[in-house]
């Protein structure tokens, strides 16, 4: 069984950017992972509600970092805690599977369920309520496409569906892998607006990690930019 949760003691910490005393970081990662030829040696803390842009050259491990947080890749050593709960312990092999992490993932190639309509895609998560789905379809201008299938959507529309689907699950941490690549200006603007305020109705913004190659996107949206190079994170870049 791989669903044994590993609950580490929550340590009260003070965070310089958005965190408050006693609030554990949304993401607290310190560990190693080897995937194929790439070895990631990662130290990263992200505060609740923070939007962190991850930049770096191709093959640096940006997508793998997101997969690690989503639970699709396991640590070989070290720990990963989300919201103070250890979800991956490379030493004890404790591991919380993806469906119990409340982490939304929007991969580069979107991976829409082509056998479901746009509305069913957005409402796929067990956490997605009808109201939330309707609100998101509206916010991302997808209402007219609700009954279409992904094959009938343009690239920009499909990307918006993927973002809406992840947000409908009300994740604590949202992982976006180049969500604006090859999008028209309108689609890009809608997605950006939703990332800045993804919770219509006063909902709190989730913590967001945004992988991007676009410097303007990184500096324009993010609270902080981290650079990943050859599997290592260079912290401290400011937007």
């Amino acid at each position: 069984m791989s669903d044994s949760s590993v609950d580490a003691p929550t340590t009260a910490t003070t965070f310089p950017i958005l965190g408050t005393v006693g609030t554990p970081p949304a993401v607290d990662l310190a560990g190693y992972a080897t995937v194929g030829d790439l070895t990631l040696d990662l130290r990263l803390k992200v505060e609740p509600g923070e939007l962190v842009a991850v930049v770096g050259p191709n093959g640096a491990g940006k997508s793998t970092l997101l997969r690690l947080l989503a639970g699709l890749v396991q640590l070989n050593a070290g720990t990963l805690a989300l919201g103070g709960r250890t979800v991956d312990d490379g030493t004890t092999r404790g591991f919380v599977p993806p469906h119990l992490r409340r982490v939304g993932w929007v991969p580069q190639d979107r991976l829409l369920f082509d056998h479901l309509t746009v509305a069913a895609n957005v409402g796929f998560s067990p956490q997605a309520t009808n109201d939330r789905v309707t609100t998101l379809l509206d916010a991302l201008d997808l209402k007219a496409l609700a009954n279409r299938h992904p094959g009938e959507c343009s690239g920009g529309q499909a990307q918006r569906v993927a973002v809406a689907r992840a947000l409908a699950a009300e994740p604590d941490v949202l992982l976006l892998d180049e969500p604006s690549t090859a999008l028209d200006a309108g689609s890009r603007q809608r997605i950006h607006a939703l990332l800045v305020d993804p919770g219509p109705g006063g909902r709190q913004r989730p913590t967001i990690l945004l992988v991007t190659h676009d410097p303007a996107e990184a500096t324009g949206l993010a609270d902080r930019v981290v650079e990943l190079s050859s599997g290592r994170i260079a912290e401290g870049l400011q937007p």
Binding site: A70, G71, L72, P97, P98, H99, R101, R102, V103, G104, W105, P107, L111, F113, D114, H115, F124, S125, P126, Q127, R165, A166, A169
Partner: protein, 249 residues
């Protein structure tokens, strides 16, 4: 050479259609013996398809997704009936499940179950030859539909059973349909293993192919009519599998 290749495939079918007794086709197909063979064939092939579905789906899953020891050997075993002469398959079944066979003797002694020369035996023979077609088709689909879509569903909070029900199976249905159609067609056309293991008993194990073979000696026109039925069924099977064999791009 390509034209020659097409000719080799098409010529027998043209001969069959050209010699078919079209005017008396209705009478020939309405004969009691023909209808009886049709009933046996449909019963055996549909039961075999059901067994193939039940046994083949988990087997395809294991081959595609589970790290089991000797997986290559298991896959070779699964594919073997596709290349094995059916009469060898029938002989093997006879020595395994016949009254004095490896397992058959115990079935007979403990449960009073005999498979040889019974419709159940014909079903077993059909399953033996048809199962690989389904497993290979579904296993291939399971590999190409990939884990990524299922991983994504999991990140949306869907537990494994929900992922199976809402993502894996719906995406697998076309391949399951195609595999089942191929397996059913193979079961319907089965001859060698059936006649060796289950015999050629009218009303029990005499399927359409066996009836066709029988009719060739005494009533060639009936044999042609039966062959046309099997040809029509084979063409019908191409409909659900057309995307597999006739790619649009």
């Amino acid at each position: 050479m390509a034209i020659l290749g097409i000719t080799v495939l098409a010529l027998p079918l043209v001969g069959l259609v050209q010699r078919a007794p079209w005017t008396s086709l209705g009478d020939l197909l309405g004969r009691r013996s023909v209808l009886e063979s049709l009933r046996v064939s449909l019963t055996v092939s549909l039961m075999a398809a059901g067994v193939v579905l039940v046994l083949g789906t988990p087997l395809a899953w294991v081959l595609a997704r589970v790290q089991v020891p000797f997986r290559r050997l298991v896959r070779a075993l699964v594919v073997l009936p596709m290349v094995l002469p059916p009469v060898v398959g029938g002989t093997a079944l006879l020595f395994a499940l016949g009254r004095r066979g490896l397992v058959g003797q115990w079935l007979d002694r403990w449960f009073d179950v005999a498979l040889t020369f019974t419709m159940a035996g014909a079903v077993v023979a059909a399953v033996f030859v048809a199962l690989p077609f389904y497993v290979v088709t579904v296993e291939g689909a399971l590999r190409t539909t990939g884990d990524e879509m299922e991983s994504l569903a999991a990140t949306l909070g869907a537990p494994p059973l929900t992922v199976l029900r809402r993502v894996t199976l719906p995406r697998l249905v076309p391949a399951m349909g195609a595999g089942l159609a191929l397996a059913w067609a193979r079961a319907l056309g089965e001859f060698g293993a059936t006649i060796t293991f289950a015999g050629n008993l009218p009303g029990r194990t005499r399927t359409l192919p066996l009836a066709t073979f029988q009719a060739l000696e005494s009533d060639p026109e009936a044999a042609l009519a039966l062959s046309l039925v099997l040809l029509a069924v084979s063409l019908a099977v191409l409909v659900p599998t057309r995307n597999r064999w006739f790619p649009t791009r």
